[in-house]
Symmetry: C2
Subunit: 191 residues, 2 copies
Amino acid sequence: MSPRIGLDLPTLLQTATEIADQKGMEAVTLASLAQKLEIKSPSLYNHVNGLNGLRTKMAIFGLEQLHHTLIHAANGRSGDVAIRAMSRGYVTFVRSHPGLYEATLQAPDPSDPEVQQAGKPIVDLVLQVLEPYGLNEEESLHITRGLRSLLHGFASLEQKGGFGLPLNRDESLDLLIETYLAGIQAKKSKY
Amino acid sequence: MSPRIGLDLPTLLQTATEIADQKGMEAVTLASLAQKLEIKSPSLYNHVNGLNGLRTKMAIFGLEQLHHTLIHAANGRSGDVAIRAMSRGYVTFVRSHPGLYEATLQAPDPSDPEVQQAGKPIVDLVLQVLEPYGLNEEESLHITRGLRSLLHGFASLEQKGGFGLPLNRDESLDLLIETYLAGIQAKKSKY
DNA sequence: TTGCCGAAACTAATGCCATTAGTTATAATA
DNA sequence: TATTATAACTAATGGCATTAGTTTCGGCAA
């Protein structure tokens, strides 16, 4: 009940990730992946549903890795301390896995159930960390969305070389986070 | 000193923009553009330096359009009012020109002088609008970077269907902006 | 041990794409 | 009217994804 030993999905994804991180997601082709794995590209269809299938699997894989990183960064903490740690973790992840992070946002169909399911734990983690702020459910969701926007925006612009100015980027990130946290406090005290 | 009348760059860019906005940037190929213009694809090389050249020109064009939108939105105002208006303008632009906005961030070489030069007026506009906050130069730059991160992040995630939850997106945006503005005020009063 | 079977590799072929080289046609100028 | 520069064209190449059909081999059952 088992064929030639050959290739398994984890090593396939790992190899694809290496290409993505080194040369960008656009360099991840079935041809380049097959070459690195020392097989012919049609053979990849035994493991993955074409290029779109590969991209979908990479998106899911990337979301899982990101979630793992964030869990580790938050490490049971909550509130401001946790948000600072998670934010650093998020940006560090993107810096060390630029291609895999790119894959995360490049799923051929973002509404794919498996992709959605891979993203959900991340949202849940942030919601959990926000609990001590005593926001109602809807507010929490908005604030979570905002935090994700801000982290994604920063990381994405940094990755794409969008920050032209000669200005320390870690300082920008810290100030951005602190400003957002201060804003949450300021708005909270208005009730 | 002039040949067959043929095609000019503005209509070429406009046509490319239509494809991008309707089907996404990945659908902008020399083949699809040539077909829509009713010419053969090699003829495009008379106007544009291959696909990379087209992408570069689209990035510049998109930045100019975005700048125009923001100028119009700010309309001489400054401070919180201007930032709210510009933020709405930014997101509205991305919603109505998703492909062109995508092009903006997909320049083959973001450090290309022409691309940098097209982005600079946007940064300058934001800096100008931030003047009444009385921040020093470095703070202003960090805050500008933060605002851009947050707007890009929100717009980009929204565009890519990254917001899975059934939650009003305009409310998320408003809260995000208000929180950031509140944060700026809160941090400012600490001095 | 031997034979079967399924899975994973393969080869061959197709069609789309970008790109290059070389050619033709035309509009303005001299 | 003849020249010239420019923008269109055709033809050809090579890389890519994808499909169809074939071969090979590891494990399980007889």
